[in-house]
């Protein structure tokens, strides 16, 4: 064969494949229909020629001997691992018949659609679920504790999400005129460079460090960033919210906050009633006044003036409201009350966290907190970016809103090199992340009524379009208020990764009438399915991504016999379930979703597969709140109820939840449960990222497994010594829920009081059939983490901080290969 027969094709990564949240440009070398090589596209602004280990290993992935290449039907009992290959037609007919029966007998909401992390699937699972008529799309993690909660919390007070600015919004990147390199970056519980989550390229931060950015790293582990940081704040897991209050305390006490932002763009001047502790609203002041309007004190007029939320302005002209003070105000019913300002209330809460107190809670020396906070506040510009650690705690909203307040109050919001609003490119919204309305929707509001948890948890009710995971699991058993009869599982590993307390999930899957799994390989989860469909990788499909900027196409460069892209599977079934389904082809669907960009899929492809929103559009920075680019009414301000950055959350007040950031001790820590600490003296943390794997994936890819061959638990040498554990020895990590077996890695990167257990472990080389289930019960740390400990708003859960003890395995308990 001549080399000239190899074609080189450009496309964009996303799942399935490297597993990550995608977006890198690649060159796929295809010869005789096979992928012979893959490399980074040097012309792509995101990765600029670089490519990670997982994407490079696609050549071992795509033709892997274990890849599913035909639909299969279960012929034994669930978990027996017995399958029969069937044709696509037979599989789709069977699924259609079974799912229609469930819909006829119980209603569409009785089918749950389970999805994993940020894949190229949310849109297409929405397409299927909504065409079927079910509102129950479930991200399988307890408290949905990854990313979505963070978004929902930020949107609650700020209206739009924000991420660190590495000039990713511009094709010329760092050369963009006006871009500034952050002087300081806070990396909060994030090992971003290992896996590139959240549609960010982790090594952008290394690029910035080379340009001078100094790091504050907030992490109990000595991560790579921590090792290179100016300040490493080694906090106790679960105490993050106390630390953020400490930061705010320093910044406000030392008068380092941005007064202009505070006074012009926040609701700091709005009045809070001292009698009720609630915001003063127009309806209190004026008979028939609006509930949705607020008030501030105008010292010139000597009276309370109304903040009109539809006008995003004071009703009177030239109001300069007081930011601090206390006034007696007469209500329309003649009652006299005393009010103070939101800013006063906010400061009062912040004052509850003097640094000696914060040191006691977090374990971080007060001086380090002080110096780091001052450095952050004085650095111009400065950015904060955070990892899933902020979601993996029940009181995530008080934590996340505290961090958000930091970037607001330091004037770093939507400025070059700060925290920049992240909008879908060209406002092309294929599926709804919290706070947005996707192009793909349920046909009617009524169909959304039965969404599990949407009545109880207001973020889910208002703008987080998923069912609540913990309640969904319970409802499978209780059947109250309605039975769950089937589950569609697509690119999700509920048994081996997403599901805490996996025994409970196993029992739930066993109880269901009908389960479909769509995946690239068999996994422990697929063993509980009735039908498994083989999905195609990102190289095998046309698709697109608008999360966040640029808008880009994914281009089909090859096919693998027997496999079909997720979108095509869902499209075909959606057509069968929805008599009004309006699209002829997948490209018709894409064109429809892409409408806001003014381009069709093919037009976008013809532009090189990539487009950047121009200046003046809502998805292009900077200072969009000042320029009227965020709100539908084009008024300056934010997409919040008040139109302001809400230091005091109006929505949270209406939901009877704390409107202001604060610290809440999580449920299973040595502080909250000293009784448990006697038997389980170590803090158990999980989820340390490996560059070789994305969550549960890639254990079967030889090049990647070679990098990280065993489930490891990081233990401090002193702690290991106290427990008679040597480096590389197999140990049990145990608590009141169960135990899991890990290989001890003795390393001082973890503190003496903590064990860090890798997550997502199963062994594709072991037997599929029960009881082995690919060895998933051996080293699955989720067996030590409960369900049903989600936060008060239905989001967040204690995944990063539990308690445990460790001891050596007996010789007979160790597998010798």
């Amino acid at each position: 064969m001549k080399e000239s027969q190899t074609g080189i094709f450009k496309t964009t990564t996303w799942s399935p494949g490297p597993g990550c949240h995608g977006g890198c440009g690649v060159l796929a070398h295809i010869k005789d229909g096979k992928l012979v090589k893959i490399e980074g596209d040097p012309d792509h602004p995101m990765n600029q020629g670089r490519l990670c280990a997982r994407a490079l290993a696609m050549t071992q992935y795509i033709d892997h001997p274990d890849r599913l290449r035909s639909p299969v039907k279960r012929v034994g009992k669930r978990g027996e691992g017995k399958w029969e290959e069937i044709s696509w037609d037979e599989a789709l007919d069977l699924i259609e018949a079974k799912m229609k029966k469930i819909r006829d007998d119980y209603g569409p909401e009785s089918m749950v659609f389970n999805v994993g992390t940020g894949r190229d699937i949310y849109a297409w699972i929405s397409l299927l679920a909504y065409a079927y008529g079910s509102p129950n799309i479930m991200f399988g993690l307890t408290g949905q504790a990854c990313y979505g909660p963070r978004l929902a919390a930020v949107i609650t007070i700020q209206g739009d999400f924000a991420v660190f600015d590495a000039a990713q919004w511009f094709p010329e990147r760092f050369a963009h005129p006006g871009y500034k390199v952050p002087e300081c970056m806070i990396i909060w519980g994030y090992n971003i460079h290992a896996t590139c989550p959240d549609n960010l390229f982790g090594h952008w931060i290394i690029d910035l460090m080379k340009k001078g950015t100094k790091i504050i790293c907030i992490d109990p582990r000595l991560s790579w960033f921590a090792s290179r940081s100016k300040y490493h704040l080694r906090l106790r897991p679960g105490s993050d919210s106390a630390l953020v209050m400490g930061f705010l305390n320093v910044i406000i006490t030392e008068d380092l906050h941005d007064k202009q932002f505070l006074e012009n763009w926040t609701n700091g001047a709005h009045l809070v009633r001292k009698d009720t502790g609630k915001l003063l609203r127009e309806k209190d002041l004026v008979k028939d006044g609006a509930e949705g309007n607020f008030a501030a004190w105008d010292p010139n007029r000597g009276k309370a003036v109304v903040w009109d939320t539809t006008e995003v302005a004071f009703r009177d002209k030239d109001v300069k409201p007081a930011i601090s003070g206390e006034w007696e105000i007469e209500l329309h019913d003649g009652k006299k009350i005393v009010c103070h300002t939101v800013w006063d209330v906010f400061k009062k809460e912040v004052n509850r966290y003097p640094l000696d107190e914060v040191e006691k809670i977090t374990g971080v020396p007060a001086k380090d907190i002080h110096d780091a906070a001052v450095f952050y506040a004085k650095a111009k510009p400065a950015a904060i970016h955070w990892g899933v650690a902020v979601d993996m705690t029940p009181a995530l909203t008080p934590l996340v809103t505290g961090i958000t307040a930091l970037w607001g109050l330091t004037g770093n919001l939507d400025i070059p090199g700060g925290n920049v609003f992240a909008r879908f490119a060209f406002d092309v919204v294929p599926y709804a992340l919290p706070g947005t309305k996707g192009a793909i929707r349920l046909k009617s509001k009524e169909l959304d009524e039965p969404r599990i948890g949407s009545k109880k948890f207001m973020p889910l009710n208002k703008f987080y379009w998923r069912c609540q995971t913990d309640m969904t699991l319970d409802q499978i058993f209780t059947e109250d208020p309605y039975p769950i009869k089937g589950m569609w599982i697509q690119t999700a590993g509920i048994m081996q990764g997403l599901g805490m307390d996996p025994k409970k999930w196993k029992a739930a899957l066993e109880k269901l009438d009908f389960v479909v799994a769509v995946d690239v390989f068999h996994t422990p989860t697929t063993q509980y399915a009735d039908v498994v469909l083989p999905a195609g990788t990102f190289l095998e499909k046309d698709s697109f991504r608008s999360w966040w900027v640029p808008l880009q196409t994914i281009n089909k460069v090859m096919t693998v016999e027997g496999c079909r892209p997720d979108v095509e599977i869902n499209f075909e079934l959606a057509r069968r379930f929805d008599p009004d389904f309006k699209f002829e082809t997948v490209h018709d669907l894409y064109d429809d979703i892409l409408k806001p960009s003014g381009m069709t899929f093919e037009e976008l492809q013809a532009k090189g597969g990539r487009a950047y929103p121009p200046d003046g559009s809502s998805s292009c920075p900077y200072l969009r709140h000042e320029r009227g680019l965020l709100r539908a009414d084009k008024k300056p301000g934010f997409r919040t109820q008040t139109g302001l950055f809400e230091l005091y959350s109006t929505l949270r007040e209406e939901w009877d939840l704390e409107p202001i950031p604060h610290h809440e001790e999580p449920p299973f820590t040595p502080v909250s449960r000293p009784d448990l600490a006697k038997d389980y003296p170590l803090i158990l943390s999980t989820g340390r990222r490996s560059p070789a794997f994305f969550h549960t994936e890639h254990r079967n890819i030889p090049w990647l497994r070679d990098i990280d061959p065993d489930p490891t638990a990081e233990i401090h040498p002193k702690t290991a010594g106290n427990n008679g554990i040597g480096n590389g020895e197999w140990i049990w990590i145990e608590n009141w829920m169960g135990r899991a077996r890990y290989k001890a890695k003795l390393t001082p990167v973890v503190p003496e009081w903590m064990v860090m257990a890798a997550h997502g472990w199963w062994f594709p080389e072991k037997k599929a059939a029960e009881p082995s289930l690919y060895g998933m019960w051996e080293s699955n740390i989720n067996q030590l983490i409960p369900m049903n400990e989600q936060g008060k708003d239905g989001m967040g859960a204690p995944i990063k901080h539990s308690m445990c003890r460790v001891y050596k395995c007996k010789p007979e308990e160790v597998n010798h290969e």
């Binding site: 090589k37 670089r50 690029d207 991560s223 921590a226 090049w703």
Partner: protein
């Protein structure tokens, strides 16, 4: 084949994050099975005063490294250098790389077999 060495790999180990991209890039380029390859990344945890530690990752070219001759002959960078996520590897003539070492500390120059 090994006369006097002319080319080398300069590693800026201040910025190597331990992503192991170089290992897989090498394996893909040369078709090495898992466990073999021209470069391995090592983790070094160094104890410092005041109970502090420093974490270093250091790519090390093995006996199998041929400095990607087939690529460099065409003017391309070696596969590991091209894909390095942290851009902490430079390929070039030994003298040039040695000069570059004066630009900043925490560098090592490898001259593989």
């Amino acid at each position: 084949m090994s006369k006097t060495p002319e080319f080398g790999l300069l590693i800026d180990y201040e910025y190597c994050t331990g992503c192991h991209t170089c290992q897989v890039a090498c394996a893909q380029e040369h078709g090495w099975p898992a466990g073999m390859g021209g470069i391995r990344v090592n983790e070094i945890v160094q104890k410092l005063p005041h109970d502090k530690y420093y974490l270093t990752y250091l790519p090390f070219p093995t006996e199998l490294c041929v400095l990607c001759k087939p690529r460099t002959r065409k003017g391309l960078d070696p596969a590991c250098v091209k894909h390095c996520m942290a851009r902490c590897m430079t390929y070039g003539p030994i003298e040039e790389l040695a000069q570059k070492m004066k630009e900043k500390p925490r560098m090592v120059l490898w001259v593989p077999k």
